[in-house]
C-alpha cells in the first residue's frame, strides 16, 4: 500500500520524539492520545449458523451487565460503577464511569434459547445462534 510507508515514518517519528523526551528526563511523558472508551465498542464475527458479539468493557461487575433480545435486535446494557473517592487525591482520571447502552441489529432472527454470554478479561462475549426458520422446506407434489 502506498501510504503504509508514510504511516511507518510517523511511528518512527513518535519513537524518536519519545526518545528525546526520555533523554531530557521530562517530568512526565504524557501521551497525545489515549484509548478512550467509546460507547461500548463492539466486534462481530460469525458463520452461517451463529455469531459472536464481543464487547470491550473492562472492570465491570457481571451483575451490571444486562442483555436482552428482541427478534433480531440484541440489547446490551453495561454500567461501570464508581469507587469510593472520599479520601483519595486524584491526579488523573481518564477511565470513564458511566453506563452504556447498545442496540445491535443483526441480519437474522436470534434463537433465544441458544444465547450464551460470558465475561473474560474485561471482554464480554455473546454467542447468538440464528433461528432455524430459514431452513428451506421441501414440498412433495402428489399425483391426482
Amino acid at each position: 500500500m502506498f501510504f503504509t510507508k508514510d504511516l511507518h515514518s510517523i511511528n518512527n517519528l513518535q519513537e524518536e520524539m519519545s526518545k528525546i523526551f526520555d533523554h531530557l528526563n521530562f517530568q512526565f511523558i504524557q501521551p497525545t492520545t489515549t484509548r478512550s472508551q467509546k460507547n461500548l465498542p463492539v466486534n462481530i464475527q460469525g458463520n452461517k449458523e451463529e455469531a459472536i458479539v464481543s464487547v470491550e468493557a473492562p472492570g465491570v461487575n457481571i451483575d451490571d451487565i444486562e442483555i436482552s433480545i428482541d427478534k433480531n435486535i440484541l440489547n446490551i446494557n453495561v454500567s461501570r460503577k464508581e469507587q469510593e473517592m472520599d479520601s483519595k487525591k486524584y491526579y488523573l482520571k481518564e477511565r470513564k464511569i458511566d453506563s452504556w447502552k447498545r442496540a445491535i441489529q443483526l441480519g437474522f432472527d436470534i434463537n433465544e434459547e441458544k444465547v450464551d454470554a460470558n465475561y473474560k478479561k474485561g471482554i464480554l462475549y455473546i454467542h447468538v445462534a440464528k433461528q432455524e426458520q430459514s431452513v428451506p422446506k421441501k414440498i412433495i407434489v402428489k399425483k391426482v
Partner: protein, 119 residues
C-alpha cells in the same frame, strides 16, 4: 479464513486513573483482553513502564469478521515519577481487564534537629 483482527503495529495508550491515599500512589489501568501473564511492570529509577499484550480471541475457523469497532493490540505507557518510591513494595493485580498498581512512597528522611547548647 483467519479471524485475526490484530494489527501488529498497533500500540495503545491505556486509560489510567492515578490517585494518592495514605502515602500510596495507585494507578488503575484499563487493559481489556490482558491476563496476569502478559503484563510487564518495570520501575527504573524514576521511570515506571507498563506494557501489556492483549491476546486475540480464538474463534472457529470459518468465522468471518462482520463488524469491527475496536482492535486488539499491545498497551504501553511510561510514567516519570517525581516521588521516591519503594521498589520492594509494589503491588500489582489484574482483574477483569483492569490493572491496579500500588506504589508505596518512601518516607522522607526526617531532618536531623541539632540542638544548640549555650556555652
Amino acid at each position: 479464513m483467519s479471524t485475526d483482527i490484530k494489527d501488529d503495529t498497533m500500540i495503545f495508550v491505556p486509560d489510567t486513573d492515578v490517585y494518592e491515599e495514605d502515602n500510596i500512589i495507585t494507578l488503575v489501568v484499563d487493559l481489556p483482553g490482558v491476563d496476569e501473564n502478559s503484563v510487564d511492570v518495570q520501575l527504573d529509577k524514576n521511570q515506571l513502564q507498563i506494557s501489556a499484550k492483549a491476546e486475540k480471541s480464538q474463534f472457529k475457523k470459518d468465522y468471518k469478521i462482520q463488524h469491527t469497532e475496536y482492535y486488539t493490540g499491545d498497551f504501553k505507557r511510561t510514567w516519570a515519577i517525581k516521588e521516591a518510591l519503594d521498589p520492594e513494595k509494589i503491588d500489582a493485580q489484574i482483574k477483569d481487564g483492569v490493572l491496579t498498581l500500588q506504589l508505596h512512597k518512601l518516607k522522607k528522611d526526617t531532618a536531623k534537629k541539632i540542638e544548640v547548647r549555650s556555652a
